[in-house]
Amino acid sequence: MATTLLELAGVWAARGRTVALRDVSLSVPRGARLGVFGPGGSGKTTLLKLLAGLYHPSRGELRWSPPPPPGGLGMVFQRDALLDSLSALENVALPLAGRPRAEIVAREALARVGLGEDAGAKRPIELSGGMRKRTGLARVLAANPPVKLFDEPTAGLDPATEREILDVLDRAHDASGLTVTASANPEPFFPRCDLALVLSAGEPIAFGEAAEVARRGDVRRLFGAE
């Protein structure tokens, strides 16, 4: 077993008047691909934002060993989180500030998700939902941090684009880092993950080898497979 990179011990998170996460404990080795699955409102986004350092546990502990360096963590947000005031290309170049050849790298990243020059010059408001999603993905690919967090990376995409994006996500994984993917529709992700965590109303109901978790009856019922 590889060395542990990330450990959560009894993590609780409150958001407003609700408890978004209840007592989550898990440990993830370096180089793992972790899937976080659960219906809408089950606490997936809260967990990803805790990992990103945007939220802090209300109770319990979250340990990285070692913590990702500055800029060593990227995230695709559920609502895309593209800045309205910048073009798609400038959005992709945002985390590259100060790096050499930032614009060329950003352009290559856009090309990898199938967006050309004309899409890159547009503002987010002029792009379709699927194109915005791909721009957000390109923003993570361009910076290529070892730790990548994907919040619903394929939601709202047509089936052909979804397969394409899944392949891009597969290739983007860094064997010395960590990839975490959250989705309410786990079917396509189970075979592409090593570990899976299933949340229901903030409670972890299953955690373990992805293939095993995928076979569990309660998990299959939760996602309506039975």
Partner: protein
């Protein structure tokens, strides 16, 4: 059963004072995103000042009507009230009404925009990429708000005086010159004007930014943060007005 109320919120809670301090630090150090500053000056100043002028011109006429009514009742010349009227515009009416318009126009603009940025996770993205929120988000909006406030006050005084004076000359038998007379206006009055305008210019954007960041994350975040931003801004304008008026009361 653990209730949410027993746990601290996982999201960092923005504090208005900390936000104001960070923004003031960035402004004093000159850490202001230039492109964003230009955008905000265009958005906030150009769209606010005409509304301030219109509002104060209306107010000028309203107060001239009151003055004319009282002058008729007391059997004195309306022109005697003119210089007092103008002094009152400098020390009170112009900064207070300009502040309220600022809270409505600048406050709602900033609160709606930042509330939307928080709701659509743009603020999260900026924080994740380690961007300088004080320089890119806070300082340009506060600088533009202060500029709008400092420009609105002198222009607004002119609008009050000219509108009131024209009305007096045209309908009440007074003279325009009496309503723009600086005879009674002292350094004390100018100090009040500058202090009140600077306070509104700073407090309105800070209140709006704070409401946008604090409430933008909720489901109806944009609507809630817009209404709250305007209300808080208005309250801060009036509170600063009272506080500054009461403080300068003691200074001769």
């Amino acid at each position: 059963m653990t209730r949410a109320l027993d746990l601290p919120d996982a999201a960092p809670r923005p504090r208005a004072l900390a936000l104001a301090a960070a923004a003031a630090g960035a402004l004093l150090a000159g850490r202001v995103d230039r492109a964003e500053l230009v955008t905000q000056v265009r958005e906030l100043c150009l769209r606010t000042i005409p509304v301030v002028l219109l509002a104060l011109a209306f107010i000028g006429v309203v107060f001239e009507e009151h003055a004319a009514h009282e002058a008729r009742r007391a059997l004195v010349s309306l022109d005697q009230a003119g210089p007092m009227f103008f002094e009152l515009s400098v020390r009170e009416i112009a900064p207070a009404i300009a502040g309220i318009v600022l809270a409505a126009r600048v406050g709602s603009g900033i609160a709606a925009e930042v509330g939307w940025m928080a709701q659509s996770e743009q603020v999260d993205a900026l924080r994740l990429f380690g961007r300088d929120l004080a320089a890119e988000l806070y300082a340009p909006r506060i600088a533009a708000g202060m500029l709008a406030s400092m420009l609105a006050a002198p222009l607004g005084i002119a609008a009050v005086g000219l509108a009131g004076g024209f009305w007096a000359q045209a309908f009440s038998g007074g003279h325009l010159a009496a309503f723009v007379s600086l005879r009674l206006v002292t350094a004390h009055d100018w100090a009040l004007l500058v202090a009140k305008s600077a306070a509104s210019g700073f407090a309105v954007p800070v209140a709006a930014l704070h409401c946008g960041l604090a409430l933008g994350g909720t489901p109806d975040g944009v609507a809630r943060s817009t209404a709250a931003g305007v209300v808080r801004g208005t309250l801060w304008v009036l509170a600063a007005d009272v506080a500054i008026g009461a403080t300068l009361w003691w200074i001769p």
